[in-house]
Symmetry: C2
Subunit: 306 residues, 2 copies
């Protein structure tokens, strides 16, 4: 239930495909949450403000002079988003309050700012949104030194030292998984809601030890379906295992001998955790919503005296 | 122009997405060709015969008693095709005349047979159509010992010795290329009709020497587009190079120290040929239509006294 009038900060994670908005009260407690599929890619720049106002109208203060601060991270700050927030350059702290951009809005009841993403020159790489989750984790663990892995459509491995993002590497593993599951000859072979941990780990080890065979192993799933009638559950588990195996071989310079913290979809984090355990590593899984909120609140602590 | 009445054999390569039909005269000369996108995946089993008759009606003999032989290779012989032609098991010759299946047809003017594909038990792998091209090449080069590479949606590396397919390995490289080009975040970055040979070879060497970085290199294309405004032509060339580099690393046990013959789309064969040249190998490109026709004609030489 909404508690109108209590909200003193609105925080949003506005990604490519999804939007999450939180209404936060004076004690920093979340009193309202909206989650939907109205991501950045479905809106024109001019549509962001009216769309957001429509969602949060009832949360806004009744007094005419008050301005409700709204802090946003994610793809809303991309060139094709609401307004571009230019990338910070790694190495750098995940959030630099001075580089948070302020938006002009039609509606005078709100004060909107967007947190910039981070770029790396060489090899070229980018993130938007993950920097805020990292800042949130570091706000509670300021002495952390190690690797933060953020599994997802574009999984990121981020090296953290002395409160800074030193370097990072993105793998397109999740998107390759989706493309092949939905738009390739494997489509009919991997339609399952469940995974089998044993098949996942076997497949993981196969391509971890020989990542060059990835594209051949993937066709092998189709052949196993035709010749051995292997179940969709096992084939989907193997598809996932092959892709993550190849990624962990490529990310070795990131995780070897490191502390690893994981932030992301919980089921996916568990898969990565199982795979890392096979390599002798204990990875800790953080609550993604919590670190995102900590990061957004941290970003405007100085900014709005929150 | 069609020369009705001259045709004594109809040959077809009926793939998943494409159909090619040739009308061949008594001297073995192609006098009619039809190519269209009416592949196996767009037809129900019962639709194959009427569809084919509609195409070739005018080629059929006028005499009531004569039966025109029709020989078909490719996915028309799959479980979901016209009629299943059970796989031969490698090692085996590419075509075994006794295993070619004969179809019952409504139309008594035709006698239709389908050439079976080939399977491999371990690791599981399958081909349908390529065996006929291989048979066609071997009909003109009976002493060939080495590797036939057939680049395509599912590129195949086939080890040939003593006239037999000893073993083979399929890589899903072409399909990954298509999935990513059409259904991923790379879509907007790689729309180009041309390739740049230098970028292709640089990218090829990158993943050939470190195939585990494939999924990271792929995201790097998006980052290079955002940060460096790299042209679509260069990015598409790199996408192709990364994928073929990873494949050639995985196929090393096939090509190392071997004679290599390539059969497939000419532009794609040239890319593979350039990449193989970087590895010190000279690959010969064959005319795909010719070897397909030789294979189809070879298949029915004994069968129909052609």
């Amino acid at each position: 239930m909404s508690k109108f009038g209590n909200i003193s900060l609105i925080a949003a994670d506005w990604g490519t495909s999804n939007l999450r908005v939180w209404g936060i009260d004076h004690q920093g407690k979340v009193v309202n949450t909206i989650t939907n599929g109205k991501g950045m890619s479905s809106l024109m720049p001019s549509e962001f403000e009216p769309y957001l106002i429509g969602l949060i109208e009832n949360w806004l203060p009744k007094e005419k002079k008050a301005k409700c601060p709204i802090i946003i991270c994610g793809m809303a700050g991309a060139k094709t988003g609401w307004k571009e927030a230019a990338y910070l350059k790694a190495p750098c702290p995940p959030i630099n309050e001075e580089k948070i951009i302020q938006l002009e809005t039609e509606d005078q009841r709100i004060s909107v700012s967007i947190i910039p993403g981070i770029m790396q020159k060489s090899p070229p790489d980018v993130m938007r949104g993950e920097e805020t989750q990292i800042a949130g984790y570091l706000s509670k663990n300021p002495d952390f030194d190690g690797i933060i892995c953020l599994p997802g459509t574009h999984t990121k491995w981020v090296h953290i030292s002395a409160g800074e993002i030193v370097s990072f590497k993105t793998f397109m593993t999740g998107e390759i998984f989706l493309s092949l599951s939905e738009h390739s000859i494997l489509k009919s072979s991997v339609q399952s809601d469940d995974l089998d941990p044993t098949s996942f780990l076997e497949a993981f080890e196969d391509t971890y030890s020989n990542p060059a065979l990835l594209s051949s192993k993937l066709f092998g799933l189709r052949a196993a379906d035709l010749l051995e009638n292997t179940s969709a559950k096992l084939l989907k588990s193997k598809l996932s295992g092959y892709l993550i195996g190849s990624e962990l071989a490529g990310a070795k310079s990131y995780w070897l001998g490191q502390n690893i913290v994981m932030i992301g979809n919980n089921d996916l984090c568990i898969l990565y955790q199982k795979a890392l355990k096979k390599l002798g590593l204990n990875a800790t899984i953080e609550n993604t919503q919590n670190v995102t909120l900590y990061g957004l609140q941290e970003a405007c602590r100085g900014r709005y005296n929150q």
